[in-house]
Amino acid sequence: MKDSKHFPRFFPLAPSPSFKFPGSVTVLLALGLLLGSSLQAQWPDFFPERSSNLPPEDARKLAETIERALHEAASEDPARRVGAIMLLGKYNTPEATAAVLEALSDTNPQVRRAAAVSFLEDVTRSLETSTGSALLARIGDEDVEIRRTISFHLPRILRAAIDNRSRLPANFLFGLLQAFADPDVSVRRNMVAAQAQINLNLPPSLWTLLLRDTDAEVAARALPLAARDLDSRDFAEALAPTLKGSDPRWQRAVAVELGNSFSTPRSLEILRQLAQSDHPLVAKEAFVATFRLTPETHALANLLDQARNNDLHPDTLRRFVNGLLALETDQCLRALQQLLAVRDPQAREEIVSTWLSLLEKLPQESAFLPLLQDDSRMIRMRAVNFLIQFASELPESWIHAVARNPHAEVRRTGLTIAARIDPGRAFDLLLELFLDPDDSLRRAAFSAILNQRLGDWESLARDALLDPDDSLRTHAVHRLLAQKGNPQVRTILSGFARENPSDPLVPIIRAQLP
């Protein structure tokens, strides 16, 4: 077994008097409690008020409704009891809850089903500890639909049932372990799905059974969990007999999980077999998994070729990229740089993010600048954020690539870059942005030039006051008036007012510059 202390578990396989919940479980429970409180604060309508908080007329009607339903729930006719339990399940009052709880032990399976569904149909409804325990006890119910319902909702039920107890009673634990071997396949599927959350400590022999289950879904669900819990050697041994003639999806998933685990001779042998598969997705996945376990140069070159040619499925590609991180940084950077143009946008986003996060200096222009025009906005923004970090070192061609970019949000970052470079280059950049087709960007560029008195700002200010775009002219007047204490600004404004006496902006100027 792998070191189990890395994998906190809810319960030991057999109850032990010394067993205590790991700290992480306690933290999870506390978080659950906090979340519950915050849910109640955010969505009070999901937590109906008790009758005592209702207006008298509503409270009376609620009490009458529940009283009638309770009367029906005591009927000798199971069909009437079913109806009553359905209705009582809609009310979160102590009387209604108690009646539904009692119905979980009814002799009639239809009534028990109605009670179980009543408790579980509203996933936002919190369950009391007693309710959780009563529901958990039905995991071995003779009625298969009840077992299916309980096992499907097991994590929620278990959270309620354990509450603040340090461990689960042995009979419950035994029932849960038995449920993994339930004759009904749906129950087994539910159990193995729940295992991802409840994290029971299962013995290797049970994992092997689950991996070799006749139902493909049980095995598929068990696969990543077993990969986590089983020793790599046991894992490979358990899987070996399942591969011959199996579904390619299963074979591919096995390759993925073996790639995630530790390298063993058996796992490498299995991957070698899978790499011979006629199914390209399986073969490629096995190839990538092998590379992840034993990164070799010739495999790297081959996989880079496939990735560049978009021959790898996006998910396989992402796993390959993840495997690249095991290489030396320089080698990893060179490899990632070759993949910056892969077709899948999400894979490309991950590649670009990883590449940029590893770079400590400006990369090759030909590799970087296309990112500023990438179809993915996220990639463009990652790229400009990187540029801002290195603003003072940017060559002219890089600054032009920002200022003349087809995407306005990239051009807009020119404003930030301008604030970080020397005034002469900043003026050139801002002047280019002042001529931008985006009006808001023009206004922002004008403000930046004016505020920093860059270059020939006075001529620019005079031009702005005569610009065909009224919004820019208005903006310029207000920005200049904000600096009316400056004699040059006063001269510009006065000159404009004198030469354009009928301009609609002149009264604003004259009001502030008498």
């Binding site: 309508d45 937590f47 109906p48 209702l54 509503d58 009607k61 009458e64 409704t65 009638r68 029906e72 006719d77 069909a79 009437r80 079913v82 109806g83 009553a84 359905m86 209705l87 809609k90 009310y91 239809q110 089903r113 109605a114 569904v117 579980l120 149909e121 509203d122 996933v123 639909e145 299916r148 319902t149 499907f152 909702h153 994590p155 929620r156 749906s186 599927r189 539910n190 799905a193 729940a194 959350q197 139902d215 493909a216 879904e217 598929a220 669900r221 696969l223 999806r249 299963w250 591919r252 998933a253 978009n310 021959d311 077709r343 899948d344 946008p345 999400q346 993915s376 906005r377 996220m378």
Partner: protein, 351 residues
């Protein structure tokens, strides 16, 4: 919401469309009137990866904003994979994503899928309205998933993504949009016998896997003959715009072929004496009127606020809503929603 991720294996039911159909389907992708320059651009924006052979069918998906925060990611891709797998149609499972209706890529696909919630702004400018009109007149079909949202689901976008509640009126936002794009035209309910519901496969999947207590309701009432609550807008006698409550929730599969999202059933039930009890039952939520297919209305009582608890039906009957969330229910819903999705796709391609 629950964090369960119930699953199922792929039920391998390979059904091949007659090969004779294939050329027609692939031809439908092309625009014979496109000039060479346009075609070159299209090739660069809509090229297929080398593991998806050239000539594969591609469809478009409307996505605005961050593509990684969209609803039901991977759902359409899974449906397209199912199309290839079950109908033997060569298709690229990754749709061309567009954020506007005037995206040039729309000239090269016959089908545009939009989840209503994946576009935040349905107030189109004139360029987009013109482009949408042209796309539809040129023979394209726009399917707006979650384009029907019962009134009690409209307060929050996410409500209409979690509840596929049968109703027969368009979301008001969609109604307003198409009143501008095609004045005088209106959405009409798709009859239960509409060929769309059987263009790939008709009827319901085998209901024997369903819990017996809800089986009859599903077969007879919820999805009779495998039909669904849908509205269509016809342009020049052809279905051009299709609306439904959300069904993408039932498409996505994980890499292992397991269903990615849990789905529960809302079922109307009755029991001995329950009708009489519901007539006078107290409720703490709201009361809504929801139109039925035939124009009559259901009166829905919520308990608590947005959770339909019971219903008064037009014939005077009262029934309680029960929510079943088990693996079998979820699997069945996925199989049906995928069938429905494939019916929509194949109808779009062959109509």
């Amino acid at each position: 919401m629950t964090s369960f991720r119930p699953i199922t294996i792929l039920h391998l039911l390979f059904v091949c469309l007659p090969f004779a159909l294939l050329p027609a389907l692939l031809k439908a992708q092309g625009d014979p009137g496109a000039d060479p320059a346009t075609e070159k651009t299209a090739a660069s924006t809509a090229s297929s990866p080398s593991y998806a052979p050239p000539g594969t069918l591609r469809i478009a998906q409307m996505l605005q904003g961050d593509t990684r925060s969209r609803y039901y990611p991977g759902a359409l891709e899974s449906l397209l994979l199912a199309l290839e797998e079950k109908l033997a149609i060569p298709v690229d499972e990754r749709p061309i994503t567009v954020s506007r209706f005037d995206d040039e890529a729309l000239q090269h696909t016959p089908f545009l899928y939009a989840n209503f919630a994946d576009r935040t702004d349905w107030d189109l400018d004139s360029a987009e309205r013109d482009a949408l009109r042209n796309f539809l007149r040129r023979g394209g079909l726009l399917y707006i998933d979650a384009g029907i949202n019962a009134e009690f689901l409209r307060a929050e976008t996410s409500h209409g993504q979690r509840h596929s509640y049968a109703s027969w009126e368009p979301d008001p936002v969609i109604q307003k949009l198409f009143a501008e794009v095609f004045p005088g035209q209106s959405f009409r309910p798709l009859p239960r016998a509409h060929p769309l519901f059987r263009s790939w496969r008709g009827g319901l999947p085998d209901p024997q896997t369903l819990p017996e207590s809800i089986r009859q309701y599903i077969v007879d009432e919820k999805w009779p003959q495998g039909s669904y609550s849908m509205l269509g807008l016809e342009i020049e006698g052809r279905l051009a715009v299709l609306l439904s409550p959300i069904i993408a929730m039932g498409w996505a599969r994980t890499e292992l072929g397991l269903w990615a999202n849990p789905i529960g059933f809302r079922v109307r039930e009755s029991a001995e004496g329950l009708d009489a009890q519901l007539r006078d039952a107290a409720y703490s939520g709201v009361r809504y009127e929801v139109p039925r297919e035939d124009g009559r209305v259901d009166i829905v009582y919520c308990q608590p606020d947005t959770m339909p608890a019971w219903v008064q039906e037009p014939d005077g009957r009262w029934r309680i809503f029960r929510y079943y969330t088990t693996q079998e229910v979820s699997d069945y819903a996925h199989i049906f929603y995928t069938q429905l999705g494939l019916n929509i796709l194949t109808y779009a391609l062959i109509q």
